[in-house]
Symmetry: C2
Subunit: 356 residues, 2 copies
């Protein structure tokens, strides 16, 4: 039923859950998630930064090293785009046995309107050396993970970094980035899970060997610690609905009056557009197709869907499931992996339908 | 040590922890907490509201019922004030046995700059009947708690409601309220725990008998379900520090280089100003007095403090403790109560001080 925990959440997991936060699913109502409702996952501390003196260094295997202030970035061509971002660990807490890390249930998502300048022309200006194979992005957040002291760092291949949609972003929903979203400058890699979009960006370093830092290993789908595994990259398809009716404070179980109900939600995939969303009210025994909203202007923003549900009295279990244009869909039973990553199990919402 | 959980957090508690969120303690750096870092506790769902058609009804035992639009409220005299708000359940998860509800550790706090219009002149305009004893504030969030279906509702005595600092607020940090903070209008009762400051305010009803709704009962300090107990009102004193050094991702244990370190933090009380903050680096065996920042302009905003710490190599446990002008201070061992309310146990931060 997707409602059991393998065992009680530990203090360490709770400490993370109290700092980081998901999007309450009512937030699926909005095309653009209000700041404060968008999910947040911060590995270490939110660093203290000063936009007035901040620079992003472009260095390493380049002919022309650059040092770009926030003002320099703002003077370059600006792009504003709606981008759905999801944490690669979303859904982790529903796995059995539960991988111990930030214990997301299903709410680690949000869609914001980000403003920034494309990275590719900056890399062209810096002129990468012939032997550069990757770009390493270094954030200002610093701490220990897996017994290794580190700045938060992730890399992209030159080809991925040069894609037109990759931005150095300095504003969200029309305002300068707030501290928790990477002020004053962050990387944004649309279509990829959030770990790639390095916040509080300090340095972009061209390197001649693939980067093997801790976070590059940590975001891999593997069956055991020794398994080399596969890197996590693009966002797997997922549909979520606004839970209908009203909740019980503790159990969050929903109650609704019998009769016609419009179910609404959003669906997204980092691999392609959303092609269909299916809905069930009997736990997945039977399915009906939802109506899709207009194709979003941005290829990287979620798509709305709705479904005219005839809610009949009794205990129901709503389920929704997205399929994208590449044929990828959501599993009914989630395959397990060591870090609990790229989990896209279908959402299940138990609803008590009562006589009106 | 304040670092143990009585038992594993349940799925129901985790569901709440994933929706609601605390202020990462780095947020203590800011005089005014950025939106998105301020704590949030929402009992039911964030309702869908429309500022253009919203009204607050003033009714019940009044001579002149009022229906106030957001525009009407904005046209009245405006007050902007920094107000520290804390959840009455802050620290609940550290109690043994643990009361089951939103499992806060210590981070359910924030200070925002709220703008609104004073409530007292509105009540004067409505002209309370002679037998009115309380005002009931009804929010639009709806659900079930304690097996009772309800709109979120809380009351204040006429005397408390008429205090000059009580506002109907429509903006925070200079912008219209976002959905999660009570858009478009909320009550604000400075100095009181957050449960009193009803969000998504629909109705203010003057009544001739004390209100006995569910939330009035739920926010009481009692030893058992049958104990009549004492209502929770004003915020007990508390000091918190920005954890120094850098964290381990999972354990959140801090590491710092030996040498001089400036510890900084904030302290507040809903009963009076902050008179002193004491700091210990040996778990409370010995204490030194911190330096207090300027007295805040607003009587209801937190006060900054700092302490020049000589961090000596080894495992240290930092503790801080606030005392207010009424002599109230923080307990070293927290007395238990049934709902886990008004808990103000001292903060303890384990730090590994290493050779630089």
């Amino acid at each position: 039923m997707g409602t059991d925990l393998d065992s009680g959440i530990t203090l360490e997991e709770l400490q993370l859950a109290a700092r980081n936060h998901g999007m309450p699913l009512e937030g699926l109502r909005y095309d653009v998630t209000p700041v404060g409702m968008h999910y947040l996952l911060i590995h270490f501390d939110i660093p203290e930064t000063d936009a007035a003196t901040w620079t992003v260094e472009v260095a390493g295997k380049v002919r022309t090293p650059l040092s770009l202030s926030v003002g320099d970035l703002e003077e370059r061509p600006a792009v504003t785009a709606r981008i759905t971002m999801e944490c690669a660990g979303n859904g982790r807490a529903r796995l059995t046995p539960r991988p111990i890390s930030q214990p997301w249930l299903q709410e680690a998502v949000g869609t914001a309107e980000w403003t920034g300048t494309p990275l590719a022309p900056i890399l062209e200006e810096a002129s990468l050396d012939r032997d550069a194979v990757e770009l390493v992005f270094t954030g200002a957040d610093h701490g220990i993970q897996g017994d290794i002291e580190q700045d938060y760092e992730r890399s992209l291949s030159v080809a991925d970094a040069m894609r037109g949609e990759v931005l150095l972003a300095y504003a969200v929903n029309g305002r300068p980035l707030p501290p928790q979203h990477g002020a004053p400058v962050r990387l944004l890699v649309p279509g990829w899970y959030g770990m790639t979009s390095v916040k509080w960006l300090r340095r972009v370093t061209a390197v001649a060997e693939p980067f093997t830092g801790y976070q590059q290993w940590a975001y891999g789908v593997r069956q055991s610690e020794d398994d080399p595994g596969t890197p996590v990259t693009r966002i797997e398809p997922r549909a979520l609905m606004v839970p209908p009716g009203f909740p019980d404070f503790m159990a969050r179980t929903r109650t609704i009056d019998a009769g016609p109900v419009e179910l609404i939600g959003r669906a997204w995939s980092g691999f392609g557009g959303i092609e269909r969303v299916d809905v069930s009210d009997d736990g997945g025994a039977s399915w009906s197709q939802a109506s899709l909203g207009a194709v979003p202007e941005s290829a990287f923003a979620w798509r709305s869907w709705s479904f005219a549900w005839d809610a009949r009295e009794g205990d129901r279990q709503l389920v929704c499931r997205a399929t994208d244009t590449t044929g990828r869909t959501q599993p009914i039973d989630q395959p397990w992996n060591f870090h609990g990553l790229a989990n896209n199990l279908v959402q299940r919402v138990p609803v008590v339908v009562r006589r009106p």
